[in-house]
Subunit: 310 residues, 2 copies
């Protein structure tokens, strides 16, 4: 199996209480790709960059199994750029600069060898661009998408067109509340799945992630309590990459297997936040990952005798 | 086994987005008692009330297995009273009134038949009062205590005297951060256990609870994603009552069993918040509890093959 992903490939400028990363490699598709490549190859990446993106990073992506046939290079433009600063507790951040650059007129064109990909992760981009990708897929088996409050504010109708076309929505708690108008996540989840998707993942950052299925099945995965979170940037995309990478690898979309995918996604995200940018992600080995997943098992495993209280 | 608990038995006035409960039955020892009585009897309650507390509630406590031999009644005073109002999302609350009344000169005296109790839950009260209880115990096997920011601010030295005398501290995330001066809970936990207790439970409200042991074992229990939280008041005390009640019932303080106790505590807390005051708690049956615990099992259970990724 392979996985197709679309999203930004970009430069970030990130300030956290632990330091300042200038001109760091970022972007949703970058994080999704580096994360998912631990599970399946190739990752069929669709994105756009300018003339300023380092060749060495592109080579590194290829070495990790990320196919760049679908990466457009705009020779006379600059790559997408985002600058942000996190609060002392890392729970909120302020966007200092957003330069769309190459994204302004991005039209995603899928190479022929991408069109049969069965597992698809649509990273956060305009819903019109996400729809354009689905249009070009021949027989997708499982399509997941991310989105953000920004698109709910300015492109609600387009969002409502693309959402019914996907199998899973992977968003954070704040986004789920805005989309549904409900505070209680269990209620928000049912309202969002009524819009179309059979599955919903609600990411809660340091408070874990919830997986919902239309038939009211529900699963919760914690975040690992880490001694130090250096930079939360990209954690959600890294989660999505691990989640979809695991599904593509196992080619099994049962709820039981999707739970495992949530755990693998959470494990990948726990690596991501331990350093700036993709610095930790680019070093992960299979052994690291298996050990980290074991930590999740140890963290939540318990055994209660049936009908223990009488 | 039996469980001794000390804490307030009080009146609350509670406003939440779901209503207003006036002169509702509240207090830490009330919640701990009603919760723990699902696991062990008798609950040896130590507290103080005024001349205004309803006899019917005292009778109800006795009917649930709560022994009131240690409940002092101050004939010429009023019971402790707290009034508070919660924010729209229930994540914060403002205290509108606190009337200490009978608490001002409370000296906890343990009846003879309490002094051999092996499991003890010291609800949130001044650290001096908590110490006075420990002084009177003959051979406690496992003592847990709650506290709050208020005591850290005004009675730090007294707090540092009582904390080394207990086996477990059961506090919330904000309190753990203030006590340790550390934001990351995994780091905060080790610093707090360095003060003495072998075990620490950090309650995170709707984001679950963490259990730590000095030897670096760690366990996480989620909160159940509920469709509606009506009133969070007493959830932490209800958790503590379930946690300690389960330990006293099973008389097993291994880490494996303490995990189960955290799950039972979380299950009890999930009932507590579904209605105002103790309204839901006073109706819980063993079958309700077993069903609720099964929901926790279903919520977090997953299975990953050893070394799944290679």
């Amino acid at each position: 199996m392979s996985l197709l992903t679309i999203g930004t490939v970009a430069f970030d400028d990130i300030k956290t209480p632990h330091g300042h990363a200038e001109r760091a490699i970022g972007g949703a598709a970058t994080y999704i790709g580096f994360s998912a490549a631990n599970f399946v190859k190739p990752i069929q990446l669709v994105s756009v960059i300018g003339n300023d993106f380092p060749e060495s990073v592109l080579q590194q992506m290829k070495d990790r199994g990320i196919n760049l046939d679908g990466l457009q290079v705009m020779k006379d433009q600059k790559s997408f750029f985002w600058a942000g600063e996190y609060s002392e507790d890392l729970n909120s951040r302020e966007t200092l600069t957003t330069e769309l650059n190459v994204l302004e007129n991005f039209d995603p064109v899928l190479p022929e060898n991408y069109k049969n990909t069965q597992y698809v992760m649509l990273g956060n981009l305009s819903p019109q661009v996400q729809s354009r990708v689905i249009d070009q897929l021949k027989a997708p088996k499982f399509v997941a998408m991310d989105t953000m409050n920004f698109w709910m504010d300015i492109a609600w109708d387009d969002l409502m067109e693309v959402i019914p076309r996907v199998d899973a929505l992977v968003i954070n708690d704040e986004e789920a509340r805005q989309m549904s108008g409900e505070h209680a996540l269990a209620v928000a989840a049912q309202k969002i799945m009524d819009l179309g998707p059979s599955y919903l993942v609600i990411k809660k950052g340091e408070n874990g992630a919830l997986l919902f299925h239309k038939d009211e099945q529900m699963f919760f995965a914690p975040a690992l309590p880490l001694a130090q979170v250096v930079d939360p940037t990209g954690a959600g995309d890294t989660f999505a990459g691990g989640f979809m990478g695991y599904l593509a690898r196992t080619d099994d979309i049962s709820f039981e297997n999707m739970k495992r995918a949530v755990i693998y996604g959470s494990a990948m995200a726990s690596f991501c936040v331990e350093d700036f940018s993709i610095r930790k992600l680019e070093q992960i080995t299979a052994e690291d990952l298996n050990q980290r997943v074991q930590q999740f098992i140890d963290l939540v495993h318990f055994d209660v005798p049936q009908k223990a209280i009488s």
